[in-house]
């Protein structure tokens, strides 16, 4: 079977491979997983395992004092996975900032995935509120990973103020519609100096592979795995898709031709 270690070695010797670097941390996996919407903690952990992921996202929520639910921290091995709290639920910059501060006070991480989402139907992020929240949080020393619509100008502004990544969406969160923003993400990648993490809307591994083929640095997937019939197997599929796309990016794809080009020799045909 395909030996990934050899593969990585080969790539390294060619100076091409390189791991994913975010804010000084080094990751060998380029697939991040959300932890929401799993049918059970068992299914979630099997999926995390199968995905090979190193970064997982979590949300911050009030405890119901009358009927406390288990924290996600009771369910996953937070020594093993790098925890990336998000500000999901925040509709404004202020709410996102408040959530980020509470998340950091948990003591696990000063990383924060900034989501400022006023709209409940399409869950699309607010470019202005996101930029505002990120400015404050970067100043406060957070490692900021903003979730954004696939807007190349906004992505540039964010990297200029010091966010650690940009996380443009492929299509609406949880929709599984795939790479609807293909062209915009291509431009974002072309201009980016920080890692581009394609987040939201990925439905199948071909979507993830397509992101990576474009030159994205990583993908974040949640619903497509949690809501697959077999989440662990889909997690493996996503892992393979991300690796496939990354390898293709490094391998340098053939040009797209308007016409056909024979694979077999044209001369020497028996007639």
């Amino acid at each position: 079977m395909f030996d990934l270690e050899c593969h990585a070695a080969a790539l390294d010797s060619a100076g091409m491979a390189g791991a994913l670097h975010i804010a000084g941390k080094v990751f060998t996996s380029r697939l991040m997983l959300g932890t929401g919407k799993y049918r059970s903690a068992e299914e979630m952990n099997a999926a995390l395992e199968a995905s090979g992921c190193e970064i997982v996202t979590v949300a911050l929520r009030r405890i119901d004092l009358d009927a406390p639910k288990r924290s996600i921290l009771d369910e996953i091995d937070w020594q093993r996975y790098h925890i990336l709290p998000n500000t999901a639920g925040a509709r404004t910059a202020d709410e996102a900032i408040r959530t980020a501060r509470m998340a950091r006070a948990m003591g696990l991480s000063d990383w924060i995935k900034v989501e400022v989402i006023p709209d409940p139907k399409y869950l699309l992020p607010d470019p202005v509120g996101t930029l505002e929240a990120c400015k404050v949080l970067v100043d406060e020393g957070f490692v900021v990973l903003p979730y954004i619509n696939a807007d190349p100008v906004l992505a540039l502004k964010l990297q200029e103020i010091g966010t650690a990544t940009v996380m443009p969406l492929a299509s609406p969160i949880g929709s599984g519609q795939g790479m609807k923003t293909f062209d915009a993400i291509r431009i974002i990648v072309e201009q980016a100096k920080v890692p581009v993490v394609v987040d939201a809307g990925i439905g199948v591994p071909s979507d993830a592979a397509m992101s990576m083929e474009l030159g994205a640095s990583a993908c974040l997937v949640n619903t497509a795995i949690a809501r697959a019939q077999d989440p662990a197997l889909m997690a493996r599929a996503m892992r393979l898709g991300v690796e496939a796309g990354r390898a293709a990016y490094l391998a340098g794809r053939m040009p797209v031709l308007p016409y056909a080009s024979a694979s077999s020799p044209l001369e020497g045909v028996v007639r």
Binding site: Y38, E75, M102, I173, G174
Partner: protein
């Protein structure tokens, strides 16, 4: 009897108590929660020191599964 707001709901406490006492009464481990007291995050080492008063606003949050 002390009336205050915890996690957006009105709550009455029989006796004055600290944050640490409140958490203990609810079987919550300090390590997995964050507490905001009147919009100020309270460092865990101060849970013993902060006494809850009438009209206080308290937020007690934890990490949950999310995407």
């Amino acid at each position: 009897m002390i009336s205050l707001t915890i996690n957006g709901r009105d709550v009455r406490l029989e006796n004055a108590m600290t944050i640490a006492q409140l958490l203990a009464s609810k079987n919550l481990h300090a390590k997995i929660v964050v507490v905001e007291h009147n919009r100020q995050i309270v460092p865990r080492e101060r849970y013993d020191a902060v006494l809850l008063g009438a009209g206080d606003e308290l937020e007690i949050v934890q990490m949950m599964a999310g995407g």
